[in-house]
């Protein structure tokens, strides 16, 4: 941009432009239904009078306007295809395109949920096959594919645990979670009618066994742990932890958001967990879609399996498939059978990789994280200095203390370098946290480029702190007035009347 005259930007349209409502004109059309070939009905009569008087003020645009609008919007977005996305806890791995094609096959996308069973055998086979694979990865035999996301899976599992205790006549009111837990964990606990008790972490970043022992009593229904945890550490005391939980008559729940570290290496079911949710939109490569849809299947022990929500696709001895409702099912947690389009993608991923491939995924994810950790450790504080799993947490506290450059500034500055920032300010127990998860799909060259950017920013923070503090500079918009947004919420366009 050197030598650029002052007026170079005149006329240039950057950042958000019009809303789709502000385009088009009364007659613009994109697609319309064919001409009506049956008699019109009198709507007021047909609907018993419940008719709308004024047309809904939706946009009126042509296809070219739609195509350009979303082309422009897309150009302002950053996805995995735009560059490295080391967003800790989110496992932003590459989304293979063949999976996208698979989910769009008419034989899946065109299925109605209430078709005759004989006409959906391929779908049930796919679902059963995925469930079997997830059971094998988790070491937990009971699987429901219904939950629409991780948090939904957490709730589903906790409800099963509640039903399990209830059936045993146990009135337990508390669920323990560590202080490193993701926000969905306590929120789920509350939604499931339990009280949250927080257990602190020990110096090694694991659950503090002493604190756990103290908190565990006959009122505890379950302990929810993320393992590897949100510090990216495999809890060294995990066997002891689950043993204690069971000893107290409680069940051990594993938040499987971090499963990408341990596939084929350690199975939640093998280390004492009774239930687990899996984020297919993390470990199993289904795309995040700008926020969803994902899928959060739940895997449970044989004891908990009867409580799972139905219907569950099962393989019948004669080689066909059908839906079954578990004997003591908690009931449904949503309509129909789950986010099937997401399940297809995950299924394709499983069949592409197989057991050996999944283990390689975890190995590389862990190696790449450790590589970044080693290369960045001198430039940023490393609160937990040990071998990490698929992610690790740095702290920007040195930069904040010495140069007034906060983790937020570092994150925003990374945007200028073409990287999506890590997860920031989480887990809560690390000051100025930067949680970095490269995933196995990043090349060494990209990892090195990320290191270079992080080092450059650390140097900038020391030499020219105002640069990161003012960042980003090159994005479609710059830092936003978030406080203003919350103070005077403008949540929708209002058409003029």
């Amino acid at each position: 941009m050197t030598g650029q005259p002052r007026h170079a930007e005149r006329g240039v349209r950057r950042g958000p432009r019009e809303l789709i409502f502000e385009m088009g004109s009364p007659e613009s059309r994109c697609v319309e239904p064919p001409a009506l070939d049956v008699p019109e009905v009198d709507l007021a009569e047909a609907l018993g009078g419940a008719v709308r008087e004024e047309p809904v003020a939706l946009p009126r645009v042509t296809e070219v306007q739609i195509a350009r609008h979303y082309a422009h919007l897309a150009s302002m977005n950053f996805g995995v295809d735009s560059g490295s996305y080391p967003l800790g806890s989110c496992t932003m791995k590459y989304n293979p395109r063949v999976n996208e094609d698979a989910a769009r096959l008419e034989g899946f996308a065109g299925l109605h949920p209430y078709q005759p069973l004989e006409s959906v055998q391929g779908a049930l086979e796919m679902m059963a096959g995925l469930a079997e694979a997830l059971a094998e990865v988790s070491g937990l035999p009971g699987v429901t594919l219904q939950p629409a996301a991780g948090a939904h899976g957490e709730l589903t599992a906790l409800m099963c645990i509640r039903a399990y205790h209830a059936e045993r006549g146990a009135v337990r009111s508390r669920v323990l979670i560590p202080d490193t837990a993701h926000g969905t964990n306590p929120a789920t606990v509350a939604m499931c009618g339990y009280d949250v008790t927080t257990v602190r972490s020990d110096a090694a970043g694991g659950v503090d066994v002493v604190a756990l022992r103290e908190a565990l009593d006959a009122d505890v229904a379950a302990v929810m742990l993320t393992n590897p945890n949100t510090l990216g550490l495999f809890d060294e005391n995990i066997l002891e932890v689950t043993r204690l939980v069971h000893a107290a008559g409680a069940l051990a729940y594993c938040d499987g958001a971090n499963l990408n570290a341990v596939m084929g290496i350690s199975r939640p079911g093998g280390i004492g967990f009774d239930a687990l949710h899996i984020n297919l939109h993390k470990t199993f490569s289904t795309p995040h879609g700008g926020g969803g849809p994902g899928a959060g299947p739940v895997c449970v022990s044989a004891e908990l399996a009867p409580y799972l929500p139905g219907p569950i696709p099962v393989r019948v001895p004669d080689g066909t498939f059908r839906f079954e409702n578990p004997a003591r099912s908690i009931g449904r947690v949503r309509s129909f059978y789950g986010n099937v389009g997401v399940l297809v993608r995950a299924y394709a991923y499983v069949r592409a990789l197989g057991g050996a491939g999944l283990r390689e995924v975890s190995e590389q994810a862990v190696l790449s994280a450790n590589y970044l950790k080693e290369r960045l450790r001198t430039h940023y504080d490393l609160p937990y200095d040990k071998t990490c799993m698929h992610e690790f947490v740095l702290s920007g506290s040195r930069q904040k203390r010495e140069y007034g450059v906060r983790t937020l500034d570092i994150a925003k500055r990374l945007l200028d370098f073409g990287f999506h920032p890590p997860t920031v300010y989480f887990p809560l127990i690390v000051e100025e946290a930067l949680m970095i998860e490269p995933t196995e799909t990043e090349s060494l060259a990209e990892l090195d480029r990320f290191v270079d950017a992080m080092v450059a920013i650390a140097e900038e923070a020391a030499a020219e702190p105002e640069v990161p503090k003012g960042a980003p500079y090159t994005t479609p918009v710059r830092r936003l007035d978030e406080a203003g947004a919350a103070r005077n919420p403008d949540l929708r366009y209002r058409p003029e009347v």
Binding site: E32, I66, V80, L111, P113, V477
Partner: protein, 457 residues
């Protein structure tokens, strides 16, 4: 390995850089007994070409309703999805992005969601809409729980004509102990709001919300206005579950007095996909804004004063408020909501209304045609939109199988939806009721042909 960009040689170099001799060492912190000691027994390792053949084989083992003359609805509808919708959804900048937590590089998702919220607010007649929930059933539950939080009352009253699967979902959540549910049976295909049925359960000071679906699961229109006054008289909120496509021509629940409007968004530009993913929509009156579950996108400015969009009011959400959050939801169904926004732009103001009118007219035409066959009887005489129930005098399954073999999906037997005991429909009759939904995809010729095949059974 496929999808792993690091090579063996580089792997060695990386191991050296982290001071390990082998990959095994990286897992040294995992206690020996916590290790998995064999290979995962999962078939795979298919080359992409084999994988494609394999998944095509599975897809080919299904007979999708989308390719048939289908009259199946009951919560999932076979509407035409304009070509532009999937072309937008295939843009990697949209589908490979995470939740727009970094607004500076997420204006695409954010503006699209703001526009989505605007459209849903317009359709529902509500002040605000969130950026989507999982599906219609969970959206209904979230509405109930929000009403419980707002009113600080424990009871929700649900019309028995709400989709049985949604009822079941509501009960599952209620079992966690945060609220109770009472059901109101139907009479003649809809709730009789002025009857004892309702007044006996709606309790002043105790009922947090009245939940009504209109059209209800039987396709019939409920008296939402009456429901609103009844609910409001007892200080309860009225939650209406609506079909967003039909809202183009149906009175907006907002105008009829609803406080919260929810529903399943699948009819708007989403494939049926065996029932998911679709999305739940959730809209409400402004005064309840800070109780809303899920994400909200707001319009603001950046530091240069340029317009910009951002996730806002996140102090409601789990990642900030934790156990005090308005919901535990984190990931939602953003891409499906995006499909809805593109769909609504593509069909537009007039096209959506024309589509709704076509569905309704064709449903009425089909009903007449089926009654004329003499094989079906009307269980009630209620106002309906694009779906209706008829009693089949014979073996429903045999009828459906026979027609399926001829390329027709003859609706959905009511009994497939789950237990019907709370609907209030005479159990003897309920099992003989078939629900027929008609979308704009069905031509008159197809309907006539279908009726002829029915008559010939």
């Amino acid at each position: 390995m496929r999808h792993i960009s690091v090579t063996c040689e580089q792997r060695e170099a990386m191991l050296r850089a982290v001071g390990c001799e082998s990959v095994e060492e990286l897992f040294a912190d995992i206690p020996r007994d916590a290790r998995f000691d064999r290979e995962l027994a999962i078939e795979g390792g298919l080359a992409e070409m084999e994988l494609v053949a394999h998944v095509r084989g599975l897809a080919g083992a299904n007979t999708p309703a989308g390719g048939m003359v289908s009259f199946a609805g009951a919560g999932c509808y076979d509407h035409y999805v304009p070509a532009i919708v999937d072309h937008v959804l295939r843009k990697p900048e949209f589908f490979t992005a995470y939740t727009p937590y970094q607004p500076e590089v997420s204006q695409g998702t954010l503006q699209a969601m703001y526009e989505y919220q605007s459209m849903m607010a317009l359709l529902t007649g509500m002040d605000v809409s969130n950026a989507s929930l999982y599906d219609g059933a969970t959206a209904l539950v979230e509405a109930a729980m929000m009403a419980v939080r707002i009113t600080r009352r424990r009871q929700v009253v649900c019309a028995g004509t709400v989709h049985p699967e949604w009822q079941s979902t509501l009960l599952t959540y209620a079992a966690a102990g945060n609220f109770d549910v009472a059901f109101v049976p139907s009479r003649g295909g809809a709730v009789a709001f002025d009857s004892e049925d309702v007044t006996s359960v709606l309790r002043e000071g105790a009922t947090a919300a009245l939940l009504v679906s209109s059209p209800n699961v039987l396709g019939n229109v409920e008296d939402v206005q009456r429901a609103a006054s009844l609910a409001h008289e007892t200080g309860a909120l009225l939650v209406v579950a609506a079909n967003p496509l039909l809202l183009a021509v149906m009175a907006s629940p907002g105008d009829q007095g609803a406080d919260i409007v929810v529903g399943e968004g699948q009819p708007l530009g989403n494939a049926m996909s065996f029932g998911g993913p679709g999305f739940g929509f959730f809209a409400c009156r402004e005064e309840y804004l800070r109780h809303v579950p899920g994400r909200l996108v707001g319009r603001t400015v950046d530091m240069d004063g340029n317009p910009a969009f951002v996730l806002t009011l996140s102090t409601r959400e789990q990642h900030i408020r934790r156990e005090k959050a308005t919901s535990n939801i984190c990931s939602n169904q953003a891409l499906c909501a995006l499909a809805a926004a593109v769909y609504l732009s593509a069909v537009g103001r007039d096209g959506l209304a024309a589509t709704a009118r076509a569905c309704i007219a064709k449903a009425h035409y089909l009903r007449e045609a089926l009654l004329a066959t003499g094989r079906f009887r009307a269980p009630w005489d209620s106002a309906f939109a694009h779906e209706f129930g008829l009693i089949y005098d014979g073996d429903v399954t045999a009828m459906r199988d026979a027609l399926f073999a001829q390329g027709f999906l003859a609706g959905v037997p009511l009994s497939m939806l789950g237990p019907l005991d709370r609907t209030g429909i005479d159990p003897g009759v309920a099992d003989s009721i078939v629900l027929f939904a008609v979308t704009e995809k069905r031509s008159r010729a197809e309907i006539d042909e279908f009726a002829a095949r029915v008559a010939a059974l």
